[in-house]
């Protein structure tokens, strides 16, 4: 019985991995994609000093250029390992390997997205939701990562029967 259940979970895990690759369609997943060129450093330009005698209008606040998160070689290899473990139905192993990656890059939203997916496979939709929310917070300014995090979030919400909230997430601009 337990074995059967495990086998089922493995099938589910495989299904998810396949689904993910389908979902990502033409665009390769972030961990196989060649390292993107880092765009110009996201340091906002310093407002020019205003001469004290002549008050200048409030300087236009610089719009932060879109950011692009990516995985380092170390964390990318760990994510690949986690996928292999997950494909073999080893959810605990996949989770521990992602924990390991998160210790190296704790604020990388792509890793929280991965962890959210593993939690979904594990049947823990609530924790998947929190991981996705954390990924969204960290992905601020990175529409690609936001889109992926949003997908995990809406899946996690639907898994909890919160379809209305899921639909709201799906209507956010970065989801298109």
């Amino acid at each position: 019985m337990a074995q059967e259940y495990r086998a089922l979970r493995r099938v589910a895990a495989l299904g998810l991995v396949v689904n993910l690759s389908l979902l990502l369609g033409g665009c390769p997943s972030p961990w196989t994609r060649p390292e993107p060129q880092r765009s110009a450093p996201a340091i906002p330009a310093q407002p020019a000093p205003a001469p004290p005698s002549a008050p200048a209008p409030a300087p236009p606040r610089p719009q932060a250029p879109p950011r692009e998160n990516h995985l380092s070689p170390a964390t990318r290899s760990l994510v690949t390992q986690a996928h292999t473990l997950l494909a073999h139905g080893d959810i605990d192993g996949a989770s521990a390997t992602l924990d390991r990656a998160l210790r190296i890059e704790p604020s990388n939203p792509l890793l929280w997205i991965e962890l959210g997916r593993v939690r979904l496979v594990d049947g823990n939709a609530h924790q998947a939701e929190v991981c996705a929310r954390k990924a969204l917070a960290l992905a601020s300014g990175d529409p690609a990562a936001q889109g992926q995090a949003g997908k995990v979030l809406s899946d996690a919400l639907r898994a909890q029967g919160r379809n209305q909230e899921a639909a709201q997430v799906e209507s956010r601009p970065y989801m298109h």
Binding site: P59, S72, A96, R100, I104, V130, A137
Partner: protein
């Protein structure tokens, strides 16, 4: 009739013996591991760090082709053959790897095959063994870890006929009695190892016939049930070897750490002989108090070992000539951390699962962080004690370091005597937190939407009539009054009057709710003094609250135990990292920007002198009333740490949070090579510049006191007319103002 009573008595003793021993001795202890060092290009591990780490793991220099556990270093290049290691998520076979590191970080890694190696971890260091279900301070030794010389030596000295007798050595008793009779005093004991074990477990020290008889029967019952090997190992883990203040040193594992600061397996014959000799009289032969006596006793044991050919003549000669070799306790014995491990095992795992033999407990302890925190605390407390030369009492302290994103606890220091396993202040000292409570007040304000970091509040005297009729009139620490100040400054300078007014405006229940949201477990009493931190918390509880602030409003359950594997390497079922979203990320971000002003413009300005140049930190000082408690809680991009300094009896210390706890915090953090705190701004907020004193919008360079804060996007801030032009008020606003002027 007499026979029946005797039979009943023996059956009773039999039951007592087996019940006690089953759970206690014949389970193989769980091995406890610290976190493995993770290596990847850019990891902050210098070549010297790496070599030190390898030596700590008992890798030896040599030709790595010869076998696992050997490394070679040429300049900054390492060639290593790793051992077969079990990790939480894999069993790794030995691998040949080459690693390059400069004097700051790892610069390159590949496999011997030439393949690129993106990430590689060293063996997790063993930090001890525990019986997970009965929480005792033991460094338990597993049968395989008992050195052969100890095994044969202890029998030689304490119980020569151990392998033959059935619990009581009648011949030995006769021999001892005869010797004692001839000497006219007690010169020999006839107790077997089994009897000594029984005495340690069940009986008092009184020398009566009844007790002796009970002891003998129990010893024989044990021998009937269990093997000689089991009994010997139990004995080695139980025997009393000395006293460290209030703490009894039981077992050779702990004895080895206590006297020589190294694991039992690494003791030299002379050191083993000293421990074996101690069994006869731990206080009589106490090597720290009576070195001459201890040396004579050790040498006697060495001579007997040589006579019995347990050591050769050459070894004996060298050992006899060697000094006692005592070392201050230290090394990798971390009782305060193990204490937390035990509690988390109990919290996260089923007791039945923990009773299994041969478990491996993988913890998040970072030995470097632990050493750094211990060093920072002891050095600073010594310095602070010297300042208060009239006092006889020593200051105490506690430090906890965690990784806020994972909730991993990486270091716990429970007091200045870091090797003592007594009162663990980091977990159990509940003290008033003083101004550490203030961020909860300000977060409540930001969450309400009625305040921003630039909003002005009144720092002015206030008197409150309390429920019991008394009047509460708080004051600022410097006994000054500051008038209108922006929130950012009131928090950075930890103004009491402004904070009380703000908190009362928000409502005590709201502030208390925020504290609980952040991680405080029990509801605090709703007195106005809550706003100034009369609520008592342990350093661990403070860590939980601040972790939520450091992690963007996500509350992560703290954990010392990452996983427990059974003998086959399968993980025990546990609660996984539990993360909850408890506070709006935007408000937490705005608060964090304010906490970043504490070290640059507020009460923690002294931190900079201890920290690497340019390191961005956020944090808060705390001082309880009459300086009884000195606190600092703060975080960088990598770690969060909370430090408490005070006296155990709550006397005044004369130390603010900045003077007592902050230097400990900063020295700890500086050793950890952390990244700057650099939170990701939510899309709904933006950074703006205001005058620290007047709260008016300015530019980075226009006002001397310009500070950067975060506010919700498009917030209208009144501008400093010399620096920015405030957008013209709309007609509607003008009408409102005109109406106001008429009404007033």
């Amino acid at each position: 009739m007499l026979a029946a009573v005797a039979a009943l008595w023996i059956t009773h003793l039999d039951r007592v013996v087996t019940r006690e021993f089953q759970g206690r001795l014949w389970s193989i202890p769980a091995r406890v591991y610290a976190a493995p060092l993770e290596l990847y290009v850019g990891a902050p591990v210098s070549a010297n760090d790496l070599e030190q780490e390898l030596r700590g793991l008992h890798y030896r220099r040599g030709d790595p082709a010869a076998g696992p556990g050997i490394y070679q270093r040429v300049g900054n290049a390492f060639d290593i053959q790793s051992r077969r290691v079990r990790f939480i998520d894999e069993l790794r076979s030995p691998e040949r790897v080459s690693i390059h590191a400069d004097n700051a970080a790892v610069t390159g890694m590949r496999l011997a095959s030439g393949e690129d190696l993106p990430v590689f971890r060293l063996d997790p260091p063993v930090i001890g063994s525990v019986f997970p279900i009965h929480g005792e301070d033991r460094l338990v030794v597993a049968p395989a870890d008992v050195p052969p010389l100890l095994r044969s030596g202890i029998k030689l000295i304490e119980d020569r006929r151990f392998d033959e007798h059935h619990g009581v050595d009648f011949y030995g008793v006769l021999r001892a009695s005869w010797a004692n009779l001839r000497a006219g005093r007690v010169v020999q004991g006839g107790s077997t190892l089994t009897q000594q074990l029984v005495k340690n477990y069940f009986l008092s020290d009184e020398q009566t016939f009844g007790r002796k008889a009970t002891e003998a029967v129990m010893a024989m019952r044990i021998e009937a049930h269990y093997s000689k090997e089991d009994i010997l190992v139990a004995y080695l883990n139980e025997v009393y070897l000395g006293q460290d203040g209030a703490r009894a040193i039981h077992g050779f594992g702990l004895g080895s750490q206590y006297y020589f600061a190294k694991p039992l397996g690494e003791l030299e014959p002379a050191e083993l002989a000293l421990l074996i000799g101690l069994v006869k009289g731990p206080s009589l032969y106490d090597p720290r108090k009576h070195p001459d006596r201890a040396l004579a006793r050790r040498n006697l044991v060495l001579k007997e070992l040589a006579e019995a050919h347990l050591i050769d003549a050459q070894t004996a000669k060298r050992a006899l000539a060697s000094p006692l070799g005592l070392r201050p306790p230290g090394g990798t014995y971390v009782p305060a951390y193990i204490d937390l491990v035990r509690r988390h095992l109990k919290r996260d795992y089923a007791e039945a699962d923990l009773a299994a033999a041969g478990l491996a407990v993988y913890t998040s302890l970072d030995l470097h962080a632990q050493a750094a925190a211990e060093r920072a605390l002891t050095q600073n407390l010594q310095r602070l004690d010297a300042r208060a030369h009239v006092r006889t009492e020593h200051l105490e302290g506690a430090v906890i370091v965690v990784e806020p994103n994972s909730g991993d606890v990486v270091a716990v220091v429970g007091g200045r005597d870091v090797d003592a396993s007594g009162f663990n202040r980091a977990l159990d000292a509940r003290r008033p937190i003083g101004s550490l409570v203030k961020p909860a007040v300000y977060l409540t304000a930001l969450e309400s939407g009625r305040y921003t970091a630039a909003s002005l509040i009144e720092d002015a005297p206030i008197e409150l009539k309390l429920a019991d009729g008394s009047v509460w009139a708080p004051q600022n620490f410097e006994r000054q009054v500051y008038g209108q100040v922006p929130l950012a400054r009131a928090l950075a300078e930890s103004m009491n009057l402004a904070t009380v007014r703000l908190g009362l405006d928000l409502g005590l229940p709201k502030v208390a709710a925020t504290l609980q949201e952040l991680g405080l477990e029990s509801a605090p009493a709703l007195n106005p003094s809550l706003l100034l931190g009369t609520v008592e918390m342990s350093p661990l509880e403070v860590v939980q609250v601040y972790t939520t602030l450091a992690d963007g409003g996500f509350r992560t359950r703290l954990r010392a135990v990452r996983a427990v594997l059974d003998e086959q390497g399968r993980p025990l079922k546990s609660f996984k990292v539990q993360v909850e979203a408890v506070a709006p990320p935007a408000a937490v971000y705005e608060l964090d920007r304010m906490l970043m002003l504490v070290p640059t413009h507020g009460t923690a300005r002294d931190a900079a002198a201890h920290l690497p140049h340019g390191l961005v930190i956020a944090g808060k000082t705390g001082t309880s009333s009459d300086t009884r408690d000195s606190w600092f809680a703060g975080f960088t991009g990598s770690y969060l740490s909370v430090v408490w300094v005070g006296y155990d009896d709550s006397r005044e210390t004369g130390l603010t949070g900045a003077a007592g706890a902050l230097p400990v915090w900063a020295d700890t953090m500086a050793s950890l090579k952390p990244l700057s705190f650099d939170p990701v701004a939510p899309e709904t907020v933006e950074e703006r510049w205001i005058g620290f004193n007047d709260g008016l919008e300015t530019t980075a360079t226009c006002s001397a006191d310009a500070v950067e804060i975060a506010v919700p996007k498009d917030t209208q801030l009144p501008g400093n007319p010399k620096c920015v032009s405030t957008p013209k008020p709309s007609v509607g606003d003008k009408v409102k103002e005109w109406l106001k002027s008429i009404v007033h």
